[in-house]
């Protein structure tokens, strides 16, 4: 990896860790323990499935919170405080800076997912008949989804305020999970305008349901290698496109101290 990008990524990772972001992981552990306590009176078979559902969904939600709230303010904070001036006054390209920030946040997300994943599997290990390494598929695709959302937040943070960047990213998350349904609904029920609109939304917003294999993993349905490959290519392509656009916007940005 380029030395500049590596230094920026590691610095970003260290900043988020020292900002005590990992307290969220402790909250995740608490959610998992609490869900076990609440769900224990239920049927033995259903308990494991519900716990898996809750755990996997919680991983996405906590990861999303970190990506949105850390990522949206990350670039703006450095612009406002002027930290960015001393960095870009060195022989560091603006795109290198963005990539460093993006990879640093990804490093944080991977570390969080790893800790949450270990906690999650440890909890499942204690519920008989639930533990399976197939959950690793869900972890992997959750990471891809969060990586894409991280690129979305970096893109928005180069052109709008942190609050708007957070709101837009949450919007992309919501619409991204509903875009297939919106398109299907538009095709079946809508007028010509609604059909076109639903089609535009489908192609304009990344389809995040591609990364959702949580139900399949929990219920033991197959997750094929071709799906994993397709989801990987889809996630990487969208991420690359968003970072290219973010780089083009950031190149033109005025960095006033």
């Amino acid at each position: 990896m380029n030395n500049h990008i590596g230094a920026l990524a590691f610095s970003t990772f260290r900043e988020t860790v020292r900002d005590r972001i990992f307290y969220l992981v402790a909250v995740f552990g608490f959610v998992m323990l609490a869900s076990t306590a609440v769900l224990s009176p239920l049927n033995i078979g259903a308990q494991g499935k519900i716990m898996s559902d809750v755990g996997l969904a919680a991983m996405v939600v906590f990861g999303l919170l970190v990506a949105v709230f850390v990522g949206s303010a990350m670039v703006r904070k450095e612009l406002d405080k002027g930290t960015i001036l001393t960095i870009l006054a060195k022989p560091v390209g603006r795109r290198e800076y963005l990539w460093g920030k993006f990879l640093g946040l990804n490093l944080t997300l991977v570390s969080m997912l790893a800790v949450m994943g270990v906690l999650f599997l440890a909890m499942l290990f204690m519920a008989p008949g639930t533990f399976s390494l197939r959950f690793l598929y869900a972890f992997y695709l959750t990471f891809l989804e969060l990586m894409l959302l991280n690129a979305v937040v970096v893109f928005f943070s180069t052109c709008v305020s942190p609050v708007l960047a957070a709101v837009f990213t949450l919007g992309v998350f919501a619409v991204g999970h509903l875009s297939e349904s919106i398109r299907d609904f538009g095709q079946m029920q809508g007028t010509a305008v609604q059909r076109t609109m639903s089609e535009v939304i489908y192609y304009l917003v990344p389809n995040l349901e591609v990364f959702n294999v949580r139900a399949a993993v929990v219920h033991g349905d197959p997750v094929t290698a071709s799906h994993l490959l397709m989801a990987t290519l889809y996630g990487v392509a969208w991420t690359g496109l968003l970072l290219l656009l973010a780089g083009a916007i950031f190149d033109r940005k005025e960095l006033r101290g």
């Binding site: 030395n3 500049h4 590596g6 230094a7 920026l8 610095s11 260290r14 900043e15 020292r18 900002d19 405080k81 002027g82 930290t83 001036l85 001393t86 960095i87 870009l88 006054a89 060195k90 022989p91 560091v92 390209g93 033109r252 005025e254 960095l255 006033r256 101290g257």
Partner: protein
Amino acid sequence: MMDLRKSFRTGFLKKRVRGIEGVSFTVPRGTVFGLLGHNGAGKTTTMNCILDLVHPDGGEVRIMGVDHRRCESRTRVGYLPERPYFFEHLSGRELLNFYADLLGLDRHLRPARIDEVLARTGMTAFANRRLRKFSKGMLQRIGLAQTLLGDPDVLIMDEPMSGLDPMGRRDVRELLLELKGQGKTIILSSHIVPDVEQIADSVGIIREGRMVATHSVDEFSDGCSYEVHLGSLGHEAAGQTLPPWARAQLAAAAGHRQSVTADDVAQLQELLAVCHHEHIPVQSVDTRRTGLEDIFMAAHDQAPVEVQK
């Protein structure tokens, strides 16, 4: 730097506001150039343009012959912004390690180099303290340390002495003089004239975004003016014998004062000769050194904003 222009769009209607207009200057290698101007005159915008942190609307900037838009132009440059601010979760040493990564400093030579710049900026004792616990002066010093880290040939410093106590100002002044002695090229901005006067070889005075004057320090360092206090002229005819420039000054004063200012030795000699010949008493002669401060104030007081060379 040739004919640099920059405007900004501000407000809801994105109205265009002039930042700098037609700023040109050249800083020969190994010299110190002081950029003087009031707050908001355009000093920081000029520096940000040099480093391509803001993109100029027009003009040309070259750093050691390399176009400033190219990343390589900043390889041998150290920059200290006004009010430097850094990652506060890092310690001083960690911060310098981070910048050493960006500069690509050799990992084996790095610890010694970091110790050296910490010592030069008086920050050795605070090297392992987190930046969030630093005072304003300490931030300025660690900012100086990161500026010097890569042993740059060109130093660009925006108000390097702001936020420092008198001891700190003296230390920075001495450090800058030491760097000047080592042959570094330095561009520094300030609105405090004596700070620049003691260090710079040449100065540019910027006002409302335009370079209104550029001077070599040698031009004014030996300059003096003389205020001659005259006694009673006795009769009106005696006044008429004074040189025209002296008569004009007395007429402008309209009897409120009986003194005239000679701009140089020749004028002084001319005036004293007339006084001797016409028996006009001379009560005293005060020598006033014409310093950079006078030139700075004169440049700011003049009505039209014209570019002078």
